[in-house]
Amino acid sequence: MEFKDYYATLGVERTSTQDEIKRAYRKLARKHHPDLNKEPGAEDRFKDIAEAHEALIDPERRAAYDDLGRRHAQGQPFEPPPGWDSGFEFSGRGGEAPGARGDADFSDFFESLFGHAGRPSGPQGGARGGGHAPGSDHHAKVMIDLEDSYRGAKRTISLRVPVFDTEGHGVLQDRQLEVNIPKGVREGQHLRLAGQGAPGHGNAPPGDLYLEIVLRPQRPFRVDGGNVYVDLSVSPWEAALGATITAPTPEGDVQLSIPAGSSQGRKLRLKGRGLPGKTPGDLYAVLGIALPKSDSSAEQEAYAAFAKAFPHFDPRIANEA
């Protein structure tokens, strides 16, 4: 386990006030919040920021952390000394952590320092604990490839779930879960796996597990809902005269007829060849016209002959498709 420099994460000084820490957190949180920032890595960065904020904004935790920080630097190997926290008592601020929805994933470093103090307590946030309350529903993400959506797939996912014993003590448990991904599933959709959430209390049923689908980007395809787009380069003569060419699709290459007189940006639709489903999507090949280089004199003459054949062509005047 490595020591984490929470001050560096938030870009504040060890001497910064709680207000300065709050301001730095808010600014960074807006910038990196995964619902607002779709860049890869934003979600991890946001988690780091949220964790640093959670550690520093609570004066008790900050004092304990500062005490350790005097002896460690960012990235240094770190083991909490036995009994290091005996002088501190964390009152916890359940409900305020970003994990209030049960999907926070603070680092081992945080957990080793503060345990679950920042988390909602107990299996049901305390609200429905005891008796025969059903288990809570859990959420996780699963990343799939485009072809998994075309064909369906079997995936083994790893989950780290807190499990609570009868006295309410939580331990983290690794769970391997084999999941059948139904074909036709789309980016951002959720799969419900009945009974795979948290166990219930007493005789109550367990909760459900919801998996959010993340589609791994796959060049050269672009996915928009159920429709799939692929750019297809053609030569000027293929576009003008028509041709049959080989086009890539997520299901393999197909022969595609380019109609004569096609222009730049023309979309050729392959109906029903997008993502499958109740309403299957379409596949669109978007034509781009590639111009050959003219290095040799023969090639330059060909362009000159081309120009001569189109004396009235003005590319600056709208060349309607």
């Binding site: 619902d35 999941v179 672009r222 996915v223 781009g288």
Partner: protein, 105 residues
């Protein structure tokens, strides 16, 4: 730390095959009724039915609620602020979809 392995069977696509009652929606999104009522009040959610006791929410509602709650909690926006951001995110999604169709990204 222990480890176990199990087969969860086939997943049901929430957006296409599931509708939620108010209680089911609260459980699935890990929130209380008050938050869902506030989202209905802002017009973010539009259940069918005459009142909370027989409201029915369609599958995509789950994602909307979870995004709204993340925004409301993580950025301290409250439900009304989250509602505005959701509208803007919807506009961004429409524009991005146009860009994808046009081949710009």
């Amino acid at each position: 730390m222990t480890e176990f392995h199990s087969n969860a069977g086939i997943g049901i696509v929430v957006e296409e095959e599931i509708v939620f009652t108010l209680d089911e929606l609260c459980r699935a999104s890990g929130t209380g009724e008050a938050q869902v009522l506030a989202l209905v009040g802002e017009g973010v959610l539009d259940p069918t039915g005459t009142g909370p006791q027989d409201w029915v929410f369609d599958g995509p509602t789950l994602r909307t609620v979870r995004t709204a709650l993340r925004l409301a909690d993580d950025l301290e926006l409250g439900i009304r602020g989250a509602a505005i951001v959701l509208d803007l995110l919807e506009q961004v999604a429409v524009l991005q979809s146009r860009l994808r169709r046009a081949g710009i990204r």
